[in-house]
């Protein structure tokens, strides 16, 4: 028998009910697929008194399309995302990213919403209770110090979700349902550069829908991640690139990164390439620009400098491939 901490499970059937349960119960947490959350509960990283399971909320499991664009429920599984024909043909990087998460089994019950709200990760944090206790805990959970940057008062745990960058390059927006109602914000605003608290969600807010704009549908894009193994692993570094060319020159370029910062980050300065032809020199400049903005720390067993090098190489390669 595996040791599990005690908690009360709730299985709401609507988003509104879920939000209500969250506000009515102490120390409540949402769980969607559970591929990450249940691991964290088993390790004592999360210690909920109430766990609000979203698997019965059917309204979060739909993909719909209208004149505005595509709307993906947060409860849609990653496998549905990667296999959805509309997403594959119009938002290719999103499908590629969903197919790159962990392994195939995780994709079959892990959800898009869960991947976007994934906790940041660090070697010193994603360990057992005994381990963290033996290491005096850390800044991110119950401790005073950061073991990555000793003496540091900032947490550098890395955002490690695969799908967020691909949605960011398509300027996705999200619906957040909370005790005070529903709001719609750009996905980029759901994150902030803080490993301790990288989500800007208000207490009890639930991510319900991801909107992909029609205006960018069909715009070519790619996602690639570096990892040690061909499956199961989180990204050491991942890049999504969306590139529209016109008459051999860049019309619109967007790049976003994962695994190299506490939040999924949109690369700044890509507007500067508008109107340029992408030659070797400008691609090298692009690569160097990406490297400068990525700030991986020693949160994985692989050296940070390598992750910075690779993120530049991936962004450069994908851009060159998309440029044709």
């Amino acid at each position: 028998m595996e040791y599990m901490p005690n908690f009360q499970l709730h299985r709401p059937e609507s988003a509104a009910e879920a939000v209500k349960l969250h506000s009515e119960n102490t120390a409540a947490l949402y769980v969607a697929g559970g591929t990450d959350m249940i691991v964290n509960v088993r390790r004592g990283i999360e210690q909920p008194e109430n766990l609000i399971d979203l698997s019965a909320v059917t309204e979060l499991k739909a993909i719909t399309e209208d004149k505005e664009g595509l709307h993906i429920g947060a409860g849609v599984t990653l496998k549905e995302v990667s296999g959805n024909e509309h997403i594959v043909s119009n938002y290719q990087a999103v499908a590629e990213a969903a197919a790159a998460v962990a392994g195939i089994t995780h994709q079959q019950y892990g959800t898009l919403g869960g991947n976007l709200c994934l906790d940041t990760r660090c070697l010193f944090y994603n360990q057992s209770e005994w381990w963290r206790q033996s290491n005096d805990y850390c800044l991110k959970a119950r401790g005073e110090t950061c073991h990555v940057a000793s003496g540091g008062k900032r947490c550098f745990a890395a955002f490690s979700g695969d799908v967020a960058p691909s949605l960011l390059v398509y300027q996705a927006e999200v619906d957040l349902v909370g005790p005070e109602g529903t709001r719609r914000i750009p996905l980029a605003e759901m994150y902030q550069n803080d490993g301790l608290d990288h989500l800007t969600l208000k207490p009890g807010e639930l991510l319900t829908v991801i909107h992909l704009p029609k205006a960018l549908a069909g715009c070519p894009s790619r996602y690639e991640k570096a990892r040690i193994r061909g499956s199961i692993d989180y990204p050491l570094a991942g890049a999504a690139v969306r590139l529209e060319m016109a008459d051999g020159n860049v019309k619109d370029l967007a790049i976003a990164l994962t695994g190299v910062n506490p939040y999924p980050q949109i690369v700044k300065g890509t507007d500067d390439y508008a109107g340029d032809a992408l030659d070797e020199e400008s691609l090298d400049k692009l690569r160097d620009n990406v490297r400068k903005q990525a700030k991986p720390m020693k949160t994985t067993t692989v050296a940070p400098w390598y992750r910075r090098r690779v993120i530049g190489a991936l962004a450069r390669r994908l851009t060159a491939e998309l440029a044709g």
Binding site: M1, E2, Y3, N6, G103, L123, F124, Q127, S128, W130, W131, Q133, S134, N135, H147, A226, I228, R229, G230, S231, I232, D233, Y234, T301, V302, A303, W305, Y306, R309, V310, A313, L314, R316, R317
Partner: protein, 771 residues
């Protein structure tokens, strides 16, 4: 009338006799036994790497309702360990803790929540001592000794030379030396360690099921630490989910389980977590190898001088054997006229290492093969050809350390990989970022001298034949998925000429099966196979006697055709069952026994202390070609294809032999490309299947296996080792291929993309600086 023939079993691809249970989900592993009255055991582990124990306060834990027993190091003052000369590990720490995660106390409670709550109530007071996580730190001047009797934490220093080493180097045209670091490797067997111990206070009797490769050694250690008569213990090995050496010595899990079961007066199950399985460890030690080779300009080896330093962890385990293997197994692959070896086995404040697959041999062989490869390039000799030049002049050959080599299929292995990989056409012509590499390896077929010298044979098999004509094979040899029970059955069936369906088997239950030393060092096929042949031969003789009596002829006139025994071709003969009936007259159920013992000539050399280590009845040989491609931007390496030839003497079960070779090649690949443990302040940070990078199916290559059969004169039907040798040869062949692809040679393992990128960039910038 159809011609009656004995059934052939040897050499026939044969699915495992215990396969159906595994695929049906019916196979029961240690964690699957859960009687209703079973208590749950949980272990309190040290949060500190090196400390004096001041107090372990268990009073609050004991007072918790539902807790049936809490034990500490006070429970037993008997130490355990695999080697009689190095037993100083306690199931629960006494006086000192020596690595983070070392068991300090154990709770048995009615359920897991209660057990965990009790663990949380234990108060551990200690005085911290300096701790050492590298061999260099632990060996430095002025260190605190981790064990009183091991000065400067050196568990064993080995120092010898054989042949004229200095003269050898003087005669060399090219001398090169290199230093290699090989990261610590874990077995990461799929089944976490588990034990269930049932103590019967009425009879003062202990029954233990445990995930082990060595139930006999476990039995011995249980008796020692429990201070019970050996006859009052029953040790059972159920299905085991992989070994690879992590269970080749008795582990603290089964010992603690038995101690706490006796304290609780009942049945306790301990199933440790994956993290705890990593902490229990017994993996391959981190090894630094410095090696120097002398070659003539024709590529002939004139001398080898090498040094190995192993970070052994906090307790000895097999450590002394490991450091001796690292030296002794330099011999026997190539013709070496002179060798000097210096080895240090060092104690550190990390989890204890053990006898992992390719025990002692792997890292040193990697270093040797890599340097030889580099020197061949320097001399402009093809890397396959340089190995041919240095072959033993076999098969009857004696090495400087008196190895007993009677079969040597390495030349044929080289021929096979050369042809299969199209070596001549492709080597050196693969194009940028693609490469081919080659290397060889060898491994013993069991150590000829047992760990515990008792004067008993190395292996014993019983065959029980009863009135129904069924034969039950009883063997203590632990089936751990390698197919040993199938192999032993095949050997007996072949001798008797009957179909394997006549057989049932019972393995590794001390109540029924004869003692066996265990599944390690590739001993089982050679030793238990021979014992099975011996038992079947004895049984066959009994049946021939019975048939002769019934047919009223002399035994030498009886022809055994498996299902028919007859006195001449015109004779209709007797069926097997008729012979059995006759054989049982006046004696009843028959048990035929077979033994195997090693020949004293194979016991190794007396030229240096510890020369028995690496003495074996036979050695298996392997040559391997590996093809890689490398991403020029991310330096991710893809192993495109592997051609693996191994001289297994005789493939008794070609299906299982292929499986063993494929598995070995692949496990070598893990060590070469991605695996390795890491510690921060003595705390393992790779203790999960996420952070310890066992390769997935995605990056695992196609492997083409070439089975070479040199037919060893003493092996069972000529067979020898099949499950370790090809691991050893993969790693240097892979690094050779990476070097072919990039023009720079990685030295340290694993060859991860970040290390490779650094290496290439340093080499490029060095070149630029030189220009």
């Amino acid at each position: 009338m159809n011609e009656i023939k004995p059934t052939k079993t040897i050499g026939v691809p044969t699915p495992l006799v215990d396969g159906p249970e595994k695929v049906a989900g019916k196979a029961q592993y240690s964690a699957d036994f859960m009687p209703s009255d079973c208590l749950i055991g949980r272990i309190f582990r040290s949060p500190v790497a090196h400390a004096e124990i001041i107090d372990v306060d268990i009073s609050a834990a004991q007072a918790l309702p539902g807790v049936k027993a809490v034990i500490t190091g006070d429970e037993t003052d008997e130490a355990y360990g695999i080697l009689p000369i190095a037993r100083f590990e306690y199931p629960l720490a006494r006086e000192k803790v020596r690595y983070k995660g070392e068991p300090v106390a154990c709770v048995a409670a009615i359920d897991v929540e209660t057990a965990q709550k009790a663990i949380d109530l234990i108060k551990f007071k200690y005085k911290e001592l300096p701790s050492y996580t590298t061999a260099q730190e632990a060996m430095a001047e002025g260190v605190v000794n981790i064990h009183d009797n091991r000065e400067r934490n050196i568990e064993r220093e080995v120092d010898y030379d054989l042949g004229e080493v200095d003269e050898g180097f003087e005669a060399a045209d090219l001398i090169m030396e290199e230093t290699f670091n090989c990261t610590e490797i874990a077995q990461a067997q799929m089944e976490p360690h588990a034990a269930i111990a049932e103590y019967d206070p009425t009879r003062d009797f202990m029954t233990v099921h445990a995930s082990t490769q060595v139930p006999y050694y476990g039995h011995l250690m249980l008796a020692k630490i429990l201070k019970m008569e050996e006859s009052q213990i029953r040790m059972i090995k159920p299905f085991v989910g992989g070994g690879f050496g992590c269970r080749t010595e008795c582990l603290n899990v089964e010992l603690i389980c038995a101690l706490v079961a006796r304290a609780a007066g009942g049945t306790v199950r301990i199933v440790v977590s994956r993290e705890e399985s990593f902490i229990t460890h017994r993996g391959r030690p981190e090894t630094d190898v410095e090696i120097k080779i002398g070659l003539t300009k024709d590529g002939m080896i004139t001398a080898v001088d090498f040094k190995a330093i192993q970070r052994g962890g906090a307790y000895s385990g097999y450590g002394i054997v490991t450091i001796l293997y690292a030296g002794g197994m330099m011999f026997g692959l190539y013709d070496l006229p002179a060798v000097r070896y210096k080895g240090f086995r060092v104690l550190t404040n990390t989890p204890p290492c053990g006898a992992m697959r390719g025990h002692g041999v792997t890292n040193v062989r990697y270093a040797f093969e890599s340097l030889l490869d580099k020197m061949a390039d320097e001399l402009g000799i093809d890397t396959l050809e340089i190995r041919r030049k240095n072959l033993l002049q076999g098969p009857k050959y004696e090495t400087l350390n008196e190895m007993f080599i009677n079969s040597y299929g390495l030349p044929e292995c080289l021929d096979w990989v050369e042809k299969a990989s199209d070596w001549k056409k492709r080597k050196g012509k693969m194009g940028p970022y693609k490469g081919l590499g080659i290397a060889c390896g060898h491994y013993p077929s069991g150590a000829s001298k047992p760990v515990n010298w008792s004067g008993e044979p190395h292996a014993t098999v019983h065959l029980k034949l009863d009135w129904d004509g069924s034969i039950t094979l009883l063997t203590g040899a632990p089936e751990i998925g390698q197919g040993s029970t199938t192999m032993a059955t095949q050997c007996a069936a072949e001798v008797l000429g009957v179909d394997m369906s006549r057989f049932q088997s019972l393995t590794s239950d001390s109540k029924f099966t004869p003692k066996d030393n265990g599944s390690y060092s590739s001993r089982v096929t050679y030793m238990v196979g021979n014992a099975s042949i011996d038992a079947a031969t004895n049984l066959k003789n009994i049946l021939i006697e019975a048939a002769a009596k019934k047919l009223e002829v002399k035994p030498e006139d009886v022809e055994c055709l498996g299902e028919v025994y007859r006195a001449g071709t015109q004779d209709e003969g007797l069926t097997f069952n008729e012979v059995v009936k006759e054989a049982l007259v006046g004696t009843g159920t028959i048990t035929a026994k077979g033994n195997f013992d090693t020949l004293p000539e194979s016991w190794g050399t007396k030229k240096y202390r510890g020369g028995a280590i690496s003495g074996s009845m036979a050695y298996a040989y392997a040559a391997q070609v590996v093809e890689v491609s490398i991403d020029p931007e991310t330096f991710e390496i893809t192993v495109e294809k592997v051609w693996a030839a191994q001289d297994v003497g005789k493939a008794l079960n070609p299906l299982a032999v292929e499986g063993q070779i494929e598995g070995s090649v692949w496990m070598g690949m893990g060590q070469a490309i991605s695996e390795g443990t890491e510690y921060v302040n003595g705390l393992g940070i790779t203790n999960s299947m996420l952070d310890y990078k066992v390769p997935t199916i995605i990056e695992s290559p196609p492997i083409e296996v070439g089975i070479i059969e040199s037919v060893d004169p003493h092996g069972p039907f000529g067979a020898k080792e099949a499950g370790e040798t090809s691991l050893v040869s993969f790693i240097p062949a892979f690094v050779s291929a990476v070097t072919d692809a990039l023009g720079v040679r990685p030295l340290d393992l694993p060859v991860t993309p970040d290390r490779l990128m650094e290496l290439v960039e340093n080499s490029t910038s060095n070149k630029e600086a030189a220009e």
